[in-house]
Amino acid sequence: MPAPTYRLRPQGDRCLSIDFGDEISTDIGLLCLSAATTLGHAQLQGVTDIVPSYTAVALFYTPGKEFGGTDFRTLCAQVDQHLKVGLVQATTSAREVDIPVCYGGTHGPDLNDVAKKIGVTEQEVIRLHTSPGSMVFGLGFSPGHPYIGVHDPLFALPRRDVPRTAVPAGSVAIANRQSTIYPTLLPGGWHILGATPLKLFDLNRAQPSLLLPGDKVRFIPISEQEYDRLAAKRAEEAL
């Protein structure tokens, strides 16, 4: 990938953010993921966390070169040096992850409402939501909590006026052309289309998070029976 344009910005005295744009798009998201991968490979001294989001990459660091840390200026120079060379393309290492989803019914209380709001049938909502090309932009809010996009412009719905105080674990929900999946029971204002029986975050796995930044995601529609079967299988495995 060619050298990108970006802006460097301090976020306080222990974080440097790199801005790649100011809109949510697959291109900018890929740029962020690729920059995060590139800078991760560079193993910069003093950097403890590299966090990609929709339009930015945050580098968390410890100040003090004499203690194995760094400082803002040094880090800026290193970022320039590494990004100038060109980016390691994040897509080349992207995994493809299938997410089975039981749409509608008790698992997807907002499916009907979303269909009405955008003026298509429930089947069409499912078809659009399961169409390929979705990517994990990043994880946030809680452990293993993905932000997936960018969906068809029809899904440009704002969040619900009144957020729910408790959204069940596994709920797959949309807002602003994105999907999220709630890893645990959490409050939330997105429109719930369905639920997956998969566990999004599990400390018993070598990689606790089911999804990682840059993963390509495919939602696969499943029946309620299949959901129950997979959920039961998971419960059995947990014993």
């Binding site: 301090p10 976020q11 306080g12 966390d49 930015a56 100040p63 452990p143 606790p208």
Partner: protein
């Protein structure tokens, strides 16, 4: 060898320097709210690596030790006492089998830190012993202490040390050591918390920026480990706009549309999408962490370079203190 919890206190949880390295997975850093006091307590008991200390909030617990060990208490003065007798803070102390540590009136500050020599024997989860209260993992069973908990300790003290010395000799030898805390790690007495401007600083109205630097803001009752909600003159953008979610930091001052700022603290979520006017300098986060609901906070600006220089001075002072305390470590390790 355990520390038995007779009374849990208001909110007592194990915290260390934080769970870094997993923010890209949405895992919050958490860790001690007052990193200065946490690190000082650890250093005073001769721990060379970061071990979780018990973060004690406002109303302290009552705990009983089943075997002798060396402890230190730093941070808020919550009137600590051993078997009913007041004890010194900011010093390594020997406690004996069956001694009960309790806390009383809050004299100053919000959070006290209890460290033990060798550390508490609690597992590492994703590289840290910190309790992630909201996600229920890390620390002791992923939660705050409860009555009846028995927390194992890694390195209790023998009644008679390997060098033949009794506990009384060890206690006296420790007490005789002169401790000098350099200014960089002594508790801050500053009146104002220092801020570094955010990129959006100029996007806020002149009145808002002026208010933030001249008016007191009250810390609201619902402020806790995740964030401090401030009450005071509204902080407004010249042209309000939606922001795209991105990584957050310890000390980010974000401003929701209502205009009342929130300072993100140790348990902050990894990402957030509100406009950010400024960031609390790391050097002053301990000062803020020791303030609590009802307290007034006042701010002033500091440059990024100056903030980093102060941060580095503190880190260096801790390294020097650890070196100066090598006698404490030798006494404890040889015992």
């Amino acid at each position: 060898m355990t520390m038995r919890v007779l009374k849990p206190g208001m909110l007592s949880s194990f915290q260390d320097q934080g769970r870094t390295g997993h923010q890209p997975l949405g895992v919050s850093v958490v860790g001690a709210m007052d990193q200065r006091a946490h690190q000082l307590a650890n250093t005073l008991v001769g721990n060379l690596t970061d071990c979780a200390s018990l973060e004690i909030t406002l109303t302290g617990p009552t705990v009983e030790f089943t075997q002798a060990c060396c402890i230190a208490i730093c941070g808020a003065d919550l009137s600590p006492s051993l078997n009913g007798k007041p004890i010194a803070m900011n010093r390594p102390l020997v406690v004996r089998a069956a001694d009960a540590l309790s806390f009383g009136a809050r004299r100053r500050g919000t959070r006290a830190y209890l460290a033990v020599h060798g550390g508490f024997a609690i597992p590492d989860v994703l590289g840290s012993q910190s309790t992630y209260l909201r996600s229920h993992f890390g620390g002791w069973q992923g939660r705050a202490l409860k009555k009846g908990d028995e927390i194992p300790l890694k390195r209790p003290l023998l009644t008679t040390g390997r060098d033949g010395a009794g506990l009384e000799n060890l206690a006296q030898a420790l007490w005789a050591i002169k401790l000098y805390l350099p200014g960089a790690i002594a508790e801050s007495t500053r009146a104002r918390v220092r801020l570094i401007k955010g990129l959006q600083w100029e996007e806020f109205t002149a009145e808002s920026r002026d208010a933030l630097l001249t008016q007191p803001y009250r810390i609201s009752p619902d402020s806790e480990r995740m964030g401090y909600r401030l009450q005071g003159p509204d902080i407004l953008m010249i042209k309000p706009r939606q922001m795209i979610s991105e990584a957050t930091t310890f000390g980010t001052i974000q401003v929701p549309a209502g205009g009342q700022p929130i300072v993100l603290m140790a348990d902050r979520q990894t990402t957030g999408g509100y406009p950010k006017i400024a960031y609390v300098a790391t050097i002053d986060l301990p000062l803020l962490a020791q303030m609590g609901p009802g307290d007034n906070v006042q701010f002033e600006l500091v440059s990024l370079e100056a903030a980093q220089a102060l941060d580095i001075t503190r880190t260096r002072a801790f390294i020097e203190l650890a070196q100066a305390l090598s006698t404490v470590r030798t006494l404890l390790i040889n015992h």
